[in-house]
């Protein structure tokens, strides 16, 4: 009886995870059917490829570093100090997370382009006569800043989760034997936080390494994701493209496993969980002004892209002026009337709903096997379900494009199945984690009590387990749904024809529309962002501080 669901789970992973990856490996390591490293040596002889790899690594390191620099002090303040505006800070961070860098870049382009608002303002003020080429001069810098802005909340959430998981008595114990504040931080707090930070940093690093949305809007071609994108869309089965995908995949996987080890080593230290409440102190008055200043800077920098996007979306039109001259709501209306925009929104709703339903069913099943099941099977499925965290969207999309070509679900024919399952595979980890956390919070005795009173397994699931899991499942489902709505890589690569466009592809195509494309795209971005913000707020309320633990390796 149990064999059928397990068979379906295995079939799901084999078809939509193992096979495309195997196909990519085959393409990279087999030349005319014989094992060979030829593709890799060709790749490393190609200047553009080598430059792209170096650039992408630089971007990823820089983003991880900057995000850490911002999140550590913020998290420390957040967990250990009492101050007004804590809720505001949290909202701010979430709003940074919810604006896809892909959309944010549209706004930033409007502000910092040669004849964007900043240059016009500077010329108006007489600071400069010639427009400054902010974006063209240092193309990587723009990408790094955009991605940092988008990703630092992930690190922040991770560090906060780790910090608030530390039993305050550990710190107090060190204090009682006379350790100074700095010693306590160095010898007690930091070692306990580092694994959590590392696990989050790995995710940030992988995201930054493989993000396609930001470079595509800034048109920075010498980055790995752009190279893969070009090879996936032009349809040439170039072994060098396969090699590049394998390099990204291997790098992500190794880092992911390293991050996992860092976290798993820590287990067992949190024996005194339960009534863990960190002490909070008021902020000392003499540092208050500095902190306030820091906050203002953070708020401005974080919200700048949002502001820009909103301005674009609400502007009648916006050329050669510092701020738009006329405002209007008409572009929001156009989201529903413009053919491309409307189809995109409608398709994404369907794709995201289907993929979320799949995730919920699979996620509950896998988490149940992992937490309640006997034997190794559950742990195995759990490990496989987590792998997509290390599987960049571009890698999966590239694999899907070629692994399923000339099959009934060839994306060129009808991308529905691949988009839905592609979204589902990559959001599955969040749902599994949320369900897993739920199962762990529900003591087994609650289920045993039900069976003991004569309830069948199904009745127990329906009347005891699922109601107790509802909050977690809702949170996981919301996240899966909203991330699927705004997914970029798979959406751009897998949907070639207009009637199948999801939102991201619609936005991308609209951006090329010289008339009012950017405005409609921004209006869609605003709607999407609000949707995502709402989902994340709801999810964080439902999950409490364990939200941070969803975003780690």
């Amino acid at each position: 009886m149990r064999a059928v669901p397990i068979f379906l789970l295995a079939a799901f992973f084999l078809t939509f995870l193992v096979w495309p990856v195997a196909h990519v490996l085959g393409g990279a390591f087999l030349v005319d059917g014989a094992p060979s490293l030829g593709a890799f040596s060709l790749a490393f002889q190609n200047d553009v490829f080598v430059r792209s790899i170096v650039n992408s690594l630089v971007v990823a390191f820089a983003v991880t570093f900057l995000a850490s620099v911002v999140s550590f002090p913020l998290a420390h303040l957040f967990v250990h100090y009492e101050f007004r505006g804590k809720g505001l800070l949290q909202g701010l961070l979430l709003s940074a997370m919810v604006l896809p860098p892909f959309v944010a870049a549209i706004g930033i382009r409007q502000l910092f382009a040669r004849f964007g608002s900043v240059n016009l303002a500077l010329m108006e003020l007489g600071v400069t006569d010639e427009p400054i080429d902010f974006l063209g001069g240092h193309p990587l810098l723009g990408v790094v800043l955009m991605e940092t802005l988008h990703l630092y909340p992930i690190l922040f959430l991770n560090v906060v989760a780790s910090l608030s998981n530390i039993d305050p008595s550990l710190d107090e114990a060190a204090e009682s034997v006379g350790a100074s504040r700095w010693t306590r931080f160095r010898r007690v707090t930091l070692p306990l936080v580092l694994p959590g930070w590392f696990a989050g940093a790995i995710i940030v690093f992988i995201f930054a390494l493989t993000d396609l949305g930001t470079p595509i809007v800034f048109d920075v071609r010498d980055l790995v994701p752009m190279q893969i994108f070009e090879r996936a869309t032009e349809g040439s089965r170039d072994p060098v493209g396969y090699a590049l995908v394998v390099i990204v995949l291997a790098l992500s996987l190794v880092l992911f496993l390293l991050g996992r080890r860092a976290v798993s080593r820590r287990t067992g230290q949190q024996a005194t969980k339960g009534s863990v409440v960190a002490r909070t102190r008021p902020i000392p008055p003499r540092v208050k002004p500095f902190l306030a200043l820091g906050f203002v800077v953070l708020v401005v920098v974080t919200l700048l892209p949002h502001l820009a996007i909103a301005l674009v979306a609400f502007s009648e039109k916006w050329f050669f002026s510092i701020v738009p001259e006329h405002f209007s709501l008409k572009h929001f209306g156009r989201v529903l009337t413009d053919e491309i925009a409307y189809v995109g929104v409608k398709n994404s709703l369907i794709y995201a709903a289907c993929s979320t339903a799949i995730d919920l069913v699979l996620g509950v099943g896998i988490a149940w096997l992992a937490v309640r099941g006997k034997g190794r099977l559950g742990a195995m499925f759990d490990a496989v379900a987590m792998l997509p965290l290390a599987l960049p969207g571009i890698v999966l999309a590239f694999g899907y494009t070629y692994a399923f070509s000339k099959t009934p679900i060839d994306p060129l024919r009808d991308p529905f199945v691949l988009l839905v399952f592609g979204y589902a595979v990559r959001r599955l980890p969040y749902v599994v984690r949320a369900a897993d956390a739920g199962f762990r919070q529900v003591p087994v005795a609650l289920e045993e009590a039900s069976k003991n009173l004569g309830a069948s397994g199904w009745t127990t699931l329906r009347r005891v387990t699922l109601p107790l899991l509802a909050g977690n499942l809702l949170a996981g489902g919301l996240l899966a749904f909203s991330f699927a709505m705004l997914e970029v890589s798979e959406s751009l690569i897998l949907a070639p024809t207009e009637k199948d466009f999801p939102i991201a592809k619609a936005i991308y195509v609209l951006l090329g529309d010289i008339a009012d494309g950017a405005q409609i795209a921004s209006a869609m971005g605003v709607i999407g962002t609000v949707l995502l913000l709402y989902s994340l707020l709801a999810a964080s309320r439902l999950l409490g501080k364990s939200l941070g633990e969803l975003f780690r390796s």
Partner: protein, 353 residues
């Protein structure tokens, strides 16, 4: 109603043996206790009866029906869990009614039976409360009502009082006994608290290292323990080492550096001339200023006197260095620390070493 028979039960996890060779027969309506230190396997035995653990060997029978392969839901055991296991998303009423819902009991009968069950545990009036707004004792009462309301064949209680404070434990203990007497339901109760077991049980099985050390009534275990372990687990026990000097029928004379006592053998093969352990209970000793000396009278010095209200506890260092504890009723307190005393041993047990 239901007899529970356990035959040659074994539970093993890989190389670790948790239970082995367990044979018990629990009579209809009996209040049966599993008593033992943590890790002895008592909870495993209870959970095997409930069906949450599938034994590696042996059989469990309810009346004469073997339970092997019967899932917990079909065993008709009401269980009370150590941490109550009340469902937080359901009200008190809904928690208690759950088992009746599963049994498809009609609405009116359900309401009536829930009301009666809650009344039995003195929780009527709390129907609409969520469980987390109840105190620990109240939660445990509801858990008891939830198990009883389905009129289970066997009531299983897994350390139901261990999370409560001492005064509440004593109070609930008496109520559980009254409820069991009134409902005459076969009940198996797991505890490591000897006072609970002695006060409530019809019979007790003392478990140690996965096996039954002794099985009997509370009086049996207390007065005729089969081993020094049982003697020490069901009550306080002084132990002194010596040698069997002589056998006089079922009585033995044990002598050692501490002196000489007469002792009964209640377990193990005691032979004259062999090394032996003499065990005696603190409340069966008397402090005598004078005394006649000879067999049954030990001499020593009071090293510590502890006033406990209704009793006074004296620690006496005997000749040869062994320290024994003597409990005297509150009035008998005229022995300051340091005084030389004689200790009368009227009742002692002897075990082979």
């Amino acid at each position: 109603m239901t007899r529970v028979r356990v035959e040659q039960l074994a539970v093993r996890y890989g190389p670790t043996t948790v239970l082995d060779g367990i044979d018990v027969e629990i009579g209809d309506g009996e209040f049966f206790f599993l008593l033992g230190p943590s890790g002895c396997g008592k909870t495993t035995l209870l959970r095997s009866i409930a069906g949450f653990i599938e034994p590696s060997g042996g059989r469990i029978l309810f009346d004469d029906r073997p339970m092997h392969g019967t899932p917990p839901a079909k065993r008709d055991c009401g269980m009370v869990f150590q941490n109550y296991a009340l469902w937080p998303h359901l009200s008190v009423f809904e928690n208690v009614a759950f088992g009746l819902d599963v049994r498809k009991v009609g609405k009116e009968e359900k309401a009536r039976r829930v009301r009666e069950a809650l009344k039995l545990v003195k929780m009527d009036g709390f129907e609409e409360r969520p469980p987390n707004r109840l105190s620990g004792g109240q939660q445990q009462r509801v858990a008891l009502a939830r198990a009883l309301v389905v009129e289970p064949a066997v009531l299983l209680l897994d350390e139901p009082l261990s999370n409560l404070d001492a005064a509440l434990r004593v109070e609930l203990r008496a109520e559980i006994r009254d409820i069991q007497r009134r409902t005459r339901r076969t009940a198996v109760y797991v505890t490591h608290d000897r006072a609970e077991a002695l006060a409530l049980a019809d019979r007790i099985a003392v478990l140690k290292d996965g096996g039954i050390e002794q099985l009997g009534s509370p009086e049996d275990l207390y007065d005729r323990p089969a081993s020094p372990f049982v003697a020490g687990f069901v009550g306080d026990a002084n132990r002194v080492e010596g040698r069997v000097a002589a056998a006089e029928g079922d009585r033995f004379v044990v002598e050692g550096p501490f002196g000489t006592v007469r002792a009964r053998a209640t377990g193990g093969a005691v032979t004259a001339g062999g090394a032996a352990l003499a065990v005696f209970r603190p409340e069966r000793l008397r402090l005598d200023g004078s005394g006649d000396g000879g067999v049954g009278t030990l001499t020593g010095r009071i090293t510590r006197r502890t006033f406990l209200g209704e009793v006074v506890q004296h620690d006496v260092e005997l000749e040869g260095g062994a320290v024994v504890r003597v409990l005297s009723l509150g009035g008998d307190t005229a022995h300051p620390e340091g005084t030389a005393v004689r200790v009368r041993v009227d009742d002692a047990l002897v075990f082979p070493v």
